[in-house]
């Protein structure tokens, strides 16, 4: 590849707008840029002056794929600020709606966005001609996830029922009967999907990542926990900005995150799986073992298997939560705002999503900080691409380009999310 370059102007099968540039000089790889050119929307700026009550609905609009994640991080941050502690069964309902989002988002990515790469199809509709059963089952499975979000949240995209302190309305036990039956089907179907993903051909590729995820004493992490890594990070979430720093690079509309002491890190299903395998339900653990997926897994292409195992877990956990559910007397706790700062960090399907808000005594937001998962993965994505391109420089350019696109899609990047926090230190005229 002399004096040559790989250029993908619009990456496909990702959410949002990104591109890839790799430049060679004299056969040597000189530059790799994973560019995010999604137009900035300045959420952190216009959150200023809004009520704390509006944070979940406004930040949901950062991402149509994982609105529940934004709503969850926002409500936890506000409740942290005002000293509100939400307990079961409202806490369980939050886990339940989050399980729905994991199912729909994971299955969307596994079957519709990522799997076609492994089998050489341009998209899932082409793949459906040869693998109709896989695509149809995946669509049905995704629908169970969407319907679970809609049942608890009112609709699947930008749900309307989540509020600081709880929900506007909670379901009666019998409202969950129908989805419970469908989740039983979904659990079986997701096990089949996990087996299928494990049978895909994986490129040989491993790197020594720093995996970062939440860790909870009892649960596989969704809403709460400490932030931990396989290289010694173990902090409360209000320490996030002390240990993780962001930098602005000229070619991207999203800031790059790194751990201050060490550099790039990886968040998402593979990180959660590696750091929290022991917190998976026994069913999900058994499925993982059966398909030969055991921690630590350092091949990012196998994230598709981790995603499928998490789908099994999400179905299993949703069923557990429904079985234990009793309707609370009130849908939400009372919230009394006062001047404070609050932090929230939850596990979006793509990895940790951090929110921090400073509010005044009326609950008006003074400033906001949002760090989405894809922004945190950018450095790892670029490092993967460096290694992948160097190792495969002899592949025909078209194949190499596709392999690079596939490597980016390993992260299920949500570029719409990554851009919004274009931050922006204060420079007054």
């Amino acid at each position: 590849m002399k004096g040559n370059s790989i250029k993908v102007d619009y990456l496909a099968r990702v959410e949002g707008e990104g591109s890839l540039v790799a430049r060679f000089r004299g056969g040597q790889l000189k530059e790799v840029q994973f560019k995010i050119f999604e137009p900035p929307r300045f959420f952190e700026a216009f959150l200023r002056g809004r009520s704390y009550r509006e944070a979940p609905d406004i930040t949901a609009r950062i991402c149509g794929i994982c609105p529940v994640a934004y709503q969850m991080s926002a409500v936890h941050a506000m409740e942290d600020a005002f000293g509100v502690k939400v307990e079961a069964p409202i806490r369980d309902l939050r886990r339940l709606i989050y399980c729905g989002e994991w199912i729909e988002s994971h299955v969307l990515h596994i079957a519709l966005l990522h799997a076609p790469d492994f089998l050489g199809y341009e998209d899932a509709i082409q793949m459906a001609r040869d693998h109709p059963q896989v695509v149809q089952t995946a669509l049905k499975l995704k629908k169970v996830g969407n319907d679970l979000v809609a049942l608890i949240g009112g609709r699947e995209i930008h749900p309307i029922n989540v509020k600081v302190g709880g929900f506007y309305k909670v379901p009666r036990r019998r409202d969950l009967d129908e989805i419970e039956e469908r989740l039983k089907w979904a659990r079986d179907a997701s096990i089949q999907l996990a087996k299928w993903t494990a049978s895909l051909p994986f490129p040989h590729f491993e790197r020594d990542y720093e995996f970062v995820a939440l860790r909870h004493p009892l649960e596989y992490p969704l809403n709460e926990g400490r932030l931990v890594s396989n290289k010694g990070l173990d902090i409360a979430i209000d320490q996030f900005e002390t240990y993780i720093v962001e930098e602005h690079v000229p070619y991207s509309n999203a800031l790059h995150s790194r751990i201050a002491e060490r550099g790039a890190y990886l968040v998402g299903p593979l990180a959660r799986f590696n750091l929290n395998f022991d917190r998976l339900s026994s069913l999900a653990q058994d499925v993982a073992k059966e398909v030969g997926m055991t921690p630590p897994c350092r091949n990012p292409f196998q994230s598709i298997v981790a995603r499928a195992i998490e789908t099994v877990y999400a179905c299993d956990e949703a069923l557990r939560l429904i079985a234990n559910y009793t309707q609370p007397d009130k849908p939400a706790l009372e919230v009394q705002p006062y001047a404070a700062t609050g932090h929230g960090c939850t596990e979006a399907p793509r990895g940790i999503l951090y929110h921090r808000y400073r509010v005044d005594e009326y609950g008006t937001i003074l400033d906001a900080r949002i760090v989405p998962p894809t922004a945190q993965n950018q450095k790892s994505i670029e490092a993967d691409l460096w290694e992948l391109i160097e190792a495969n420089a002899d592949l025909p350019p078209e194949q190499l380009q596709w392999r690079c696109e596939q490597a980016i899609r390993n992260y299920d990047p949500c570029i719409s999310c990554a851009t919004h926090f274009l931050k922006l230190h204060v420079e007054r005229e």
Binding site: E17, C63, H248
Partner: protein, 259 residues
């Protein structure tokens, strides 16, 4: 991908959250049928295969916020027989149009780190401010059944059957007890475009206007009622200034309450 005789469909994204185009992928039961009826020629969220235009139907998501996008939308228009905008960003500028209410210089001085890296326009504007639009589908996000209805109508050369009345009409038809009358909860339902199925009132919450203004909304009358219920001026302004803040009726109403 080879050309077929089926009508072809393209999906374009501008500044947005991806949620409206995701609605198409969320049509789980209908997706493969849609794919059978139209050739999906350009849909980057779903496929890396693209077919060159012209396109019979273009669905456009997102608002115009950068100089590059202000150019690109003209290319999309030139390549499209029907151009349909989907969602609050494309039809009203979206939540990012909140910048339109700020003095741009003040805004920039407040938030810019390295302005030389970033290109952005001072306003977020809907697609129809830039090119002719054949049909606008409202909502933040759009309702997927309405999206299918629009595609279906175009394929069958008829007008989409989508009502322009208020959320109140949908709410009454479902027999939901009025949250404003019965609970004293402020609700934008009387002035908001139908299409969501009145989900907020169904969940015991006031409508927050994510489908934007209905046809001929009487916003001043609603504001008067809200004030009688004790809603403060600031909260009233914020209520009109959300996902459809820069739509004409909502913008005028919010500005009329500014001192």
């Amino acid at each position: 991908m080879a050309r077929t005789t089926k009508p072809n469909l393209a999906v374009w994204k501008f500044a947005s959250c991806d949620g409206c185009q995701l609605s198409l992928l969320d049509c789980e039961e209908e997706l493969l049928e849609v794919a059978g009826a139209v050739e999906i020629a350009y849909f980057l969220e779903a496929s890396r295969a693209t077919v060159k235009g012209p396109y019979d139907i273009s669905l456009v998501e997102g608002s115009i916020t950068t100089p590059h996008d202000a150019e690109r939308i003209h290319q999309v228009r030139r390549a499209s027989r029907f151009l349909i905008t989907i969602g609050a960003c494309a039809t009203a500028g979206g939540i990012q149009a909140l910048r339109n209410f700020k003095d741009v210089r003040e805004f920039i001085s407040l938030v810019y780190a390295s302005p030389q890296y970033i290109q952005t326009l001072s306003k977020s504007t809907p697609i129809r401010d830039h090119v002719f639009v054949d049909y606008e589908l409202r909502g933040c996000p759009v309702n997927k059944h309405q999206l299918l209805e629009v595609i279906n109508a175009l394929l069958n050369e008829r007008k989409p059957n989508i009502a322009a009345h208020s959320v109140c009409s949908e709410c009454k038809r479902q027999g939901i007890v009025c949250v404003m009358v019965a609970q004293g909860t402020p609700c934008l339902g009387p002035v908001t475009h139908a299409g969501c199925g009145a989900i907020c009132p169904a969940y015991g919450r006031g409508c927050y206007g994510c489908f934007g203004p209905k046809e001929t909304p009487n916003t001043s009358s609603l504001s008067k009622r809200w004030k009688q219920m004790g809603v403060k001026e600031d909260d009233l302004i914020r209520a009109y200034r959300s996902f459809n803040a820069d739509s004409e009726p909502f913008r005028r109403e919010s500005e009329s309450h500014e001192r």
